[in-house]
Point group: C2
Chain length 118, copies 2
DNA sequence: CCAATTGTTCAATAACTTTTGAACTAAGGA
DNA sequence: TCCTTAGTTCAAAAGTTATTGAACAATTGG
């Protein structure tokens, strides 16, 4: 957990809402929610924005307490801080993700991915 | 309903999240939620911001589909579009308001008001 | 060691959002 | 009619966020 992350009780509601109020970041969060438990690296999101811009948006998500970024080799493993968010704002993430899933106009990543069973 | 309001199915998730991601507007929404059914006029919120600035924030809430503003005489009656929001984004408003109520650091209006029974 | 891969940082710019005050409109009461 | 109340509009200024490209750093494979 190399990079700075806020403690669970430091996560601020307005900041989380503002951070989720951006279509690119919302798409990232949706994808992480769909692939829960599977750590993602940034390259997954390159069809949403440029590398530099992704770095910016992923930092915003991390600083808001929405995601966790871990440095592993030259990659960052990114995960949703679902437990922390659910503890702090019960029901919020679920309703946001459900709402986003129901909206065909929002940008999305990896929608047509093949599920690989173990 | 004189002023322009989006239809229920035109309410956009990122816009709603961004609009609620402002502490002043969140305080307005919390107050409206607490006084559900009782139409408010803008002056209720004058301790949050200046008259001009309130006009701006209330327009943002209306344009996002979060509130309804009705012109009555020289006043505006403002209400939460709870039914519409619940239909469009089930659970979202409740979790946002519950989260806001649990946060002592957020600005609030009319917290210490006397409940007047009929 | 060298090159490729992965992502960051920096500075610049563009694009928005918020806040302000002065001037305004519209309704209602004296 | 005139004054007050309630809120809007407008243009400017201030502040913030998003986007870009070029340069950089760190790790890993050959």
């Amino acid at each position: 957990m190399t990079l700075p992350h806020p403690a669970t009780d430091q996560i601020s509601l307005p900041i989380v809402l503002a951070v989720l109020g951006d279509p690119t970041r919302l798409a990232i969060v949706r994808y992480l929610a769909r692939k829960e438990g599977v750590p993602m690296n940034c390259s997954k999101f390159l069809d949403l924005a440029s590398k530099t811009n992704l770095s910016y948006h992923l930092a915003k998500l991390r600083e808001a307490g929405v995601t966790r970024s871990e440095a592993v080799g030259t990659s960052r493993l990114i995960t949703l801080r679902r437990d922390d968010l659910d503890r702090r704002f019960p029901g919020l993430l679920d309703s946001v993700i459900a709402a986003a899933d129901g909206d065909k106009d929002l940008p999305a990543v990896g929608v047509s991915e093949v599920e690989v069973s173990a």
